[in-house]
């Protein structure tokens, strides 16, 4: 019955989605809901198609900030995690910091960063994304490098292998799935952070600012269309990270 299960797994959410949209459309039309409260899906779609180029441009701005931050943050995160796995003292310094940063709305630092750079620079937003991604990647990859099976390490030691060998042959392969777990979290986080950073002023050419300006002009359906664009951007990033993960899984027997 496995194929039936698979069909059910795809069909059910699809049906749920269609029903939800139908109810939404019906509620707006039926209860005559004001557009400032809820816009009808049909109107949203209409606005989306009307503004596709503009939405694309805005997404490109937010998306590029997210992407740059994602790449740089990942590189630095991986580099630092190697240091952390080598020098346990560093780990004891950095890990509590990383954990507490999880609880804090760290993106408020953009207000500070905007002041440290010129007002028209995209750097504060990219810096912020880098920072957020950095910590996510750091914590996960460090865990992957250090939480290796003790049996494997003992085996390598019995071969009188150097620490560097152990790193290459045991720790790094162990850490790769952890890296992709981190990316699956960091990719959407980069989009969200890039997004939120736009609320702190500065250049108003990204998705976030477009949404605010459309609402200020009472163009709610258009605002929703940009929200849709933002969701698509986030999904795109997440999908890419999943694809990357599956590429590395090809050889492994997991």
């Amino acid at each position: 019955m496995k194929s039936l299960d698979r069909v059910k797994n795809i069909a059910t959410p699809f049906v749920f989605g269609v029903v939800f949209l139908g109810l939404w459309e019906g509620a707006v039309k039926g209860f005559n809901l004001k557009p400032y409260f809820l816009a009808a899906p049909s109107k949203i779609m209409e606005q989306f198609l009307k503004n596709t180029t503009r939405i694309w441009e805005a997404s490109a701005v937010s998306g590029s900030n997210a992407l740059i931050g994602l790449c740089i943050g990942t590189i630095f995160g991986i580099a630092m995690s190697f240091l952390l796995s080598r020098f346990r003292f560093l780990s004891q310094l950095v890990t509590p910091l990383a954990i507490s940063l999880n609880a804090i709305p760290i993106f408020v630092l953009v207000a500070v960063l905007n002041n440290m750079y010129s007002i028209t620079s995209e750097i504060p937003r990219r810096f912020m994304v880098t920072l957020v991604v950095y910590f996510i990647v750091l914590v996960n990859v460090a865990r992957g490098l250090t939480q290796v099976s003790s049996i494997q390490v003992e085996l390598m030691r019995s071969y009188a292998a150097s620490e560097f060998s152990i790193l290459r042959k045991v720790r790094v392969p162990n850490a790769i799935p952890y890296l992709f777990t981190a990316l699956k979290v960091a990719a959407p986080a980069s989009v969200i952070t890039a997004f939120v950073s736009e609320y702190f002023g500065g250049l108003q050419n990204g998705l976030g600012s477009r949404i605010t300006s459309n609402i200020a002009n009472s163009k709610n359906a258009a605002a929703w269309a940009y929200v849709l664009g933002a969701c698509l951007l986030g999904l795109a990033f997440y999908t890419v990270s999943i694809i990357l993960e599956s590429l590395t899984r090809k050889g492994q027997s997991k």
Partner: protein, 292 residues
């Protein structure tokens, strides 16, 4: 006794990290380019002068001085009341989010169809910037009326916190509810226990270890939701608005914005501290896991 020593050690290390961060900040101020600089062809080095990067000591002394010239309120009072305002909003958002999240999780555990239909959307929702909805939700404030109840603007901020909180809580609780070993479920079946009895006597207690990290995520989600809502709409009274306001005055009063930023950090830590206490209570009788 060992427990206390461990906590003392961890606190010491944490403080040491903070000291190092302050050190790096001040060091950069000493050696960094006063007007910002280039690295690899891009303007990535921030300005090191006192306007852009005030001394850490200035940041702290700023707390004791009045908020606005001529005002009798010192900044720490203003920041504290702003953080307190946002904390209450976050708590409302967190409670609502936890309730909805747990409710959904129970529904999904009970009805496979609901789980199949809803779970993909829940997972997706964690990857899209729901915060984009912030301005939309806040615009309901003052305009939406349900009978005699007029939607207050602050509720929108809490609702955004709810949006961000309920997803991790729902997913974590669902995993916990379905985590019971088959033998335990068979045991309850052998007692001819109803689904409801099995839920309360087996599934929920078994789910607690899974709910604890989910609640932590929910708490930070609630804070993020509230703060973003405040920032994107300038909601009066909250710490988000203070940050935006003070950021605008940064050229004249650079240390001011830091006071609010630290306030936001304190908000986050307080919220997570409250949830951590609650977690300790929930796990009070469980075997202690050896910490990594």
């Amino acid at each position: 006794m060992k427990f206390v020593r461990r906590i003392a050690y961890r606190t010491f290390m944490f403080l040491l990290t903070l000291v190092l961060l302050v050190g790096i900040w001040e060091l950069y101020k000493k050696v960094g380019p006063q007007d910002g600089g280039m690295l690899f062809g891009a303007r990535v080095l921030p300005r090191a002068n006192d306007t852009a990067m005030p001394h850490v000591s200035t940041m702290f002394s700023r707390y004791g001085r009045p908020e606005v010239r001529g005002s009798d309120k010192e900044i720490w009072q203003v920041v504290l009341s702003g953080a307190w305002f946002s904390l209450r909003l976050s708590l409302v958002g967190f409670f609502l989010g936890t309730t909805v999240g747990i409710g959904l999780a129970v529904l999904m555990a009970r009805f496979t169809t609901v789980r199949r239909g809803l779970l993909p959307y829940l997972v997706m929702s964690q990857t899209v910037p729901l915060i984009a909805l912030a301005p939309l939700v806040v615009s309901w404030g003052g305009k939406l009326e349900i009978g005699s109840f007029v939607w207050p603007r602050w509720l929108s901020a809490s609702i955004l916190g709810t949006f961000l909180a309920f997803f991790p809580v729902a997913v974590g609780t669902l995993r916990g509810l379905t985590s019971s070993p088959l033998a335990a479920v068979e045991l309850m079946s052998s007692y001819a226990a109803s689904w409801r009895q099995t839920l309360f006597k087996l599934r929920f207690p078994a789910a607690v270890p899974f709910m604890v990290p989910a609640l932590k995520l929910g708490a930070s989600g609630a804070v993020v939701g509230v703060v973003v809502a405040e920032i994107s709409t300038g909601l009066k009274g909250g710490i988000g608005r203070l940050i935006i306001e003070y950021a605008r005055e940064a050229t004249g009063d650079p240390a001011k914005v830091f006071t609010a930023v630290f306030g936001a950090a304190a908000l986050g830590l307080t919220m997570s501290g409250l949830v951590a206490f609650f977690d300790l209570y929930l796990m009070r009788n469980r075997p202690r896991e050896t910490s990594t």
